[in-house]
């Protein structure tokens, strides 16, 4: 079964508003890393919100076509159920962080799944350790720097151990060490057969992807091997 199926997806934020995504179709197989690129405003974050069911469940708007994650139609499942399939790290981590400490933030979702306390503790430790943020354990997420917040948001998602990850420009605010950590995590996750969709701009970051999708004004204009597509896109941008 494909991890992600997007079939003739179109959407807008208000019923009368501008069409943001226009008739998009693609599939992602388990174990693939797919990068999603395109000029800002072309609809990358909107597509991530569709994968997690945030659109249409929370933000409303109008969605036509179909989005399936691990075979589940996002329209028919609640956002909390979809979160077990797709871990979504938002572009703005502030929209995602709310607990009083980093540790609580990461424990929140596994606790909500009613996992045994011991298992929750193990997951929290593992995630803090993998991300190299154990020393931030007791810190209030509001007091963190921008890059640290992205790592915590990433941790909260990893603790749920979803089989699909959708990462919306998480690398942008990370220092070189943070980028390397995330890169390593992504490669490890791929080895475990997990599926990753990452939105990024930096060709270097994108280069670990197996495949690259290019959005332009809400349309999917390219879908191909990373090396080929990145080369074409860069020359298209003349920079």
């Amino acid at each position: 079964m494909d991890a992600i199926v997007v079939d003739r997806l179109s959407c807008r934020y208000q019923a009368a508003g501008r069409q943001i995504l226009k008739d998009i179709s693609f599939k992602v197989a388990p174990g693939e890393i797919v990068a999603l690129i395109g000029l800002s405003g072309c609809g990358k974050s909107t597509l991530c919100l569709c994968l997690g069911g945030i659109i249409p469940h929370y933000l409303g708007g109008e969605l036509t076509g179909q989005v399936l994650v691990n075979g589940k139609d996002t329209r028919e499942y609640r956002v909390a159920q979809l979160a077990l399939e797709v871990g979504l790290v938002f572009q703005d981590p502030d929209t995602q962080l709310f607990a009083p400490t980093v540790e609580d933030e990461i424990a929140f979702a596994p606790e909500n799944l009613c996992l045994p306390a011991e298992e929750v503790g193990t997951r929290v430790n593992k995630v803090l350790d993998t991300l190299g943020i154990s020393d931030l354990r007791k810190t209030n997420p509001n007091h963190l720097s921008g890059g640290q917040k992205h790592l915590v948001a990433m941790g909260a998602v990893l603790a749920l151990e979803p089989s699909i990850l959708a990462l919306d420009e998480v690398m942008a605010q990370l220092d070189p060490a943070g980028k390397k950590t995330i890169n390593k995590i992504l490669v490890d996750l791929r080895r475990q057969g997990k599926t990753i969709l990452m939105v990024e701009h930096d060709p270097e970051t994108v280069s670990i992807a197996d495949r690259v999708l290019v959005l332009e004004e809400g349309r999917l204009i390219k879908d191909g091997r990373a090396v080929t597509v990145l080369g074409e896109w860069e020359s298209m941008l003349r920079c």
């Binding site: 800002s40 990370l174 060490a177 941008l237």
Partner: protein, 219 residues
Amino acid sequence: MAYIELENVSFCYPGQSRPVLREINLSILNKGVTAITGANGSGKTTLSKLLTGILLPTKGRIKLNGQLLTSLTLTQIGRQIGYVFQNPDKQLFCETVEEEIAFGVRNLGLPPDQAAQKVREVMDYFELTRHAQAYPLSLSAGEKRRLALAAVFALEPGLLLLDEPTTGLDPYRKKLLGDYLDKMLAAGRGVVLISHDQKFINRYATRLMGLQDGQFIEE
């Protein structure tokens, strides 16, 4: 004379034992691009808030054009240092994109037609014209970033202080930003650039400062 002068500046967040910045001495001129790098959490954003008077040093003092920062209002500081936040959400507050840019321009004391012209120019340059009537907080992250930059650039302050300005920008919009910085430099203004974007720094920085363990190492 230095545009900004830090003398023995230390800063510690209330209730914390470890200071973020320790005894910093630094002069910043209003020419060239001073790039500030440092690991996540090293204190770059904290420093930018000190430079703009949003936070006050725990020790030491900061002067802006020879005047103590503590003797100036945030508005007076804002006229001399154009600060673009790391998170643009925190600085957008108007009902429309156009109004967001016009808000500050109105206080420049320009004749109305010149003010309107200026708003149109930056809006055009940052490719925001098609969103002129949109609500700023419903823009995409990259559009918000461009709006925050446009609103500050329109005021033509002597020094720009940009906290990770390339986040959320695609390569083409990064180049637009860079070209604008070049124009500012040519017009005799300075830029302080806080960033992890190595490529962007390599291309534009004229001075490179690294923040580590609360202190600067010039590179």
